[in-house]
């Protein structure tokens, strides 16, 4: 006899505002086998769980149905609670009446009807659940960090400090990310390189850290504790083990007109290059789009000058496969392209630059050796206009709907640095709002206004027009003074919105993690699990999860590392008991299941069977290795005799769900 308990959660008002939870509990109380049906404010809270536990003991329940949020949120919570009350954890089913009902529907009547059907479906299933016991699976004690910006470096250092091996996969020839391009950093105005490069060196010297630069993740298999990752080591045409980073080749390379990404395209580099002096690893890379040897077999200078014999034009992409227990994603961001915002004349005028370009123009290692000069005529700019929120908080599809968060602060930083170094320069900043929450941030902005006399103008810029005399006319409105302004500027700086790296979406698909509509990775819970992805064993670090400045990035990176360390400390994790098994009496040994199993979990045994006529027959039957089976269910459908079935998702359970939905 089934004795089922049904528990309907209000989730505060998340469910209760569109689903009549009392009506659901009442309707489900009449289902066959249901002995108790209750509703409660927060089922997942301790008192909610106690309600379930007490009911299990009091009514001697054989199955529990929780009508609540997605099983991806709290299935484990309730399984644990039931197990504590002595009920096998796999005798619990969740009806998802939040993500798949109350949050998507507005009409109470139809949403309540649907919730009742979802509840019935779960009851139909739980009636057929069987108790299951989990096995343990070992944890590979190594972490993978994808992306080697400040976020990835910090996560890797923390994990390595805790004594675990870490690999960093970075798609560029060097680690460092965007922070390596920044000149000085708010709110302290210390030099970015001075705080970043020691960390880069520390990462390269830490014996637990292994850096795969100029590499990408090309495939991810497996599950928490046991991921198998294929890494593509892109051909850099230089043997990493031989190159000493002397840079002779970069001096001799005759192909000198390659736009230099590191200086935001403001100057040129050679076809064989080392991105910047403090690059880690400091190894030359040949750019195949420009190298004349690779393009048409003519040149070969670098190979001739290299005393180490490191240049190898025949190098091919290589793939390596490694196992990891945990993965940290730290793929960062890029500023969006100003191309679509033609009213600001970026494409027409070299003296309209982005903020990242300005960072390079001001940097001592930048194209002008740290003296701020206009790109067009290398003259000192006397009037500079900053335009904030270009593409941020934007309601058309040229830009992004969100606030990029860092631009207010770095614009104040730029303005202040310029006024400090060149007091004769006039600086204007057009803004929609100045957003400076954060420790010492508002004080920082006020210093720009009060101490450095930066002219902040609340208003938008309508048009930027380059003029024949070399000036750039900026037309904008001052909303507070209610007047139109025209400023003849020498330099215009656009604070471009930032967006996640383009490689993030295909990566999310490989990792089976969620992303929001803007391609930022989604955290498992926005408040309580901000550094974990919803997929177990995958953690989020830095701007790939949402716009952040460096202090926040580092804090999140360390938090993600702490979570990864917590996982790596375990010797084993409990594995999923929802695996396949074959009914020996029905199996005819046809091998259909073996052929579809992606993990090779199925083998065959010859077994003796007592036949009804008292003879003994030997038959070949399938047997599933539960430690290898991942529970996909491919074999169950391939099996022609219906012998193969899957624990937790059996044929009869799914049929019962189908029936419950359809009737």
């Amino acid at each position: 006899m089934n004795r089922i308990g049904v528990f309907v959660c209000h989730c505060g008002t998340n469910i209760a505002s569109t689903v009549d939870v009392k009506a659901v509990a009442e309707a489900l109380s009449h289902e066959r086998g249901v002995v108790i049906s209750q509703d409660y404010q927060y089922m997942c809270s301790e008192s909610g769980q106690n309600l379930v536990k007490n009911a299990i003991k009091e009514h001697n329940l054989t199955g529990v149905v929780i009508c609540s949020c997605s099983p991806r949120m709290h299935e484990n919570t309730f399984r644990k609670a039931c197990s504590e009350a002595g009920l096998n954890p796999y005798l619990v089913e969740i009806a998802n009446i939040r993500e798949q009902c109350s949050w998507i529907h507005k009409d109470i009547t139809t949403a309540t009807e649907k919730a009742v059907i979802l509840g019935r479906t779960a009851i139909a299933k739980v009636t057929l659940n069987t108790p299951l016991t989990s096995m343990e699976s070992p944890v590979v004690k190594r972490a993978l960090v994808i992306g080697g910006g400040i976020a990835g470096i910090q996560s890797a250092l923390d994990i390595a400090e805790a004594g675990f091996e870490v690999d960093i996969v970075e798609k560029e020839p060097t680690i460092g990310g965007k922070m390596a391009q920044i000149d000085k950093t708010f709110p302290t105005l210390d030099c970015a390189a001075c705080i970043l490069t020691p960390k880069m060196v520390e990462a390269s010297q830490n014996e637990n850290i292994n850096i795969y630069s100029f590499s990408e993740v090309s495939d991810v298999k497996g599950f928490v504790g046991n991921f198998t990752v294929k890494i593509k080591r892109k051909a850099r045409y230089v043997d990493e083990t031989k190159c000493t980073g002397c840079g002779l080749c970069t001096e001799k390379c005759p192909m000198k007109k390659v736009p230099n990404e590191f200086n935001a395209g403001l100057d040129n580099r050679t076809a064989i290059y080392i991105p910047f002096a403090q690059a880690v690893p400091k190894i030359a890379t040949i750019d195949p789009n420009y190298c004349m040897m690779l393009k048409n077999g003519k040149c070969g200078v670098c190979s001739k000058v290299c005393t180490a014999g490191a240049v190898d034009y025949k190098q091919k992409d290589e793939f390596i496969e490694k196992k990891y227990g945990a993965i940290v994603v730290a793929t960062g961001y890029n500023p969006i392209s100003p191309e679509k915002f033609d009213e600001y004349a970026y494409s027409q005028c070299p003296d309209v630059v982005t903020s990242l370009e300005l960072e390079r123009l001001m940097n001592a290692a930048g194209p002008n050796g740290g003296t701020l000069l206009r790109p067009s005529d290398k003259k000192h700019p006397e009037k500079i206009v900053f335009i904030q929120c270009v593409g941020s908080r934007c309601d058309d599809d040229r830009g992004k709907p969100y606030c990029s968060k860092i631009c207010c602060m770095y614009t104040a930083k730029h303005a202040m640095l310029i006024r400090e170094k060149y007091p004769d320069t006039e600086v204007y900043v057009f803004y929609i709002d100045v957003r400076t929450p954060g420790k010492n941030f508002d004080e920082f902005y006020r210093r720009a206004v009060e101490q450095y006399n930066v002219h902040y103008i609340k208003g938008m810029v309508g048009k930027v027009t380059p003029k024949a005399n070399g000036k750039i006319e900026v037309q904008g409105s001052d909303m507070l003074a209610d007047e139109q302004l025209r400023i003849d500027a020498d330099l215009v700086v656009l604070a471009m919105a930032i967006e996640p790296d383009k490689s993030a979406r295909p990566l999310a698909t490989m990792l089976t993690t969620q992303m929001d509509t803007n391609d930022f990775f989604t955290e498992a819970h926005p408040k309580l699990r901000p550094v974990e992805s919803a997929t177990a064993g995958i953690f989020l670090s830095g701007v790939c999860q949402g716009p952040k400045d460096i202090p926040e990035t580092v804090a999140q990176a360390s938090a993600a590392a702490a979570k990864a360390i917590g996982l790596l400390c375990k010797n084993s994790i409990t594995c999923n008991p929802c695996v396949a098994h074959s009914d020996e009496l029905m199996c005819n040994g046809c091998s259909a299941c073996e052929k579809v199993c992606p993990y090779g979990a199925i083998t065959y045994e010859n077994k003796e069977f007592r036949m009804p006529d008292r003879t003994v027959a030997v038959r070949r039957v399938a047997s599933v290795n539960p430690a290898v089976c991942q529970g996909c269910g491919a074999c169950t459908v391939a099996c022609p005799s219906g012998a193969m079935d899957l624990n937790g998702f059996s044929n009869s359970q799914i049929m019962a769900e189908v029936d419950a939905i359809c009737k």
Partner: protein, 148 residues
Amino acid sequence: MQVNDSKNFEPVIAAFCCNWCSYAGADLSGTNRLSYPTNVKIIRVPCSCRVNPMFILRAFQRGADGVIICGCHPGDCHYTSGNYFTRRRITLLYSMLDFLGIERNRTRLEWVSAAEGAKFASVMEQFTEDVRKLGPNRRLEDLRCRKK
């Protein structure tokens, strides 16, 4: 209760979603408060390849008007190759359903990733509309199963 006369026709739709991508995609459309019709009821399966064509036939027999199977994009199945099996099996099922005289548009296979909450909602919206246009499924419905 849903009334199945042709004027007030509310199609019954069963959606099989694989746990790793499409079920998560469905959750995401909830988290983002995107709406799709209440007609759609989701059954969670570990992988789209767990969907036995028998389940689909059973659904039609029990009075479903449409059945949709959702899995990870080809190449992205959590179990590497499950959705390739699904694709082949559903293609075969299509020809059988053709033979049985069940309109092709009542069954659909869609790839929805965990990141595609918006796609999930729009696919469900569209599928419900397509099935609504076809009207009730009478062809395979076992009248003995019909609820009075």
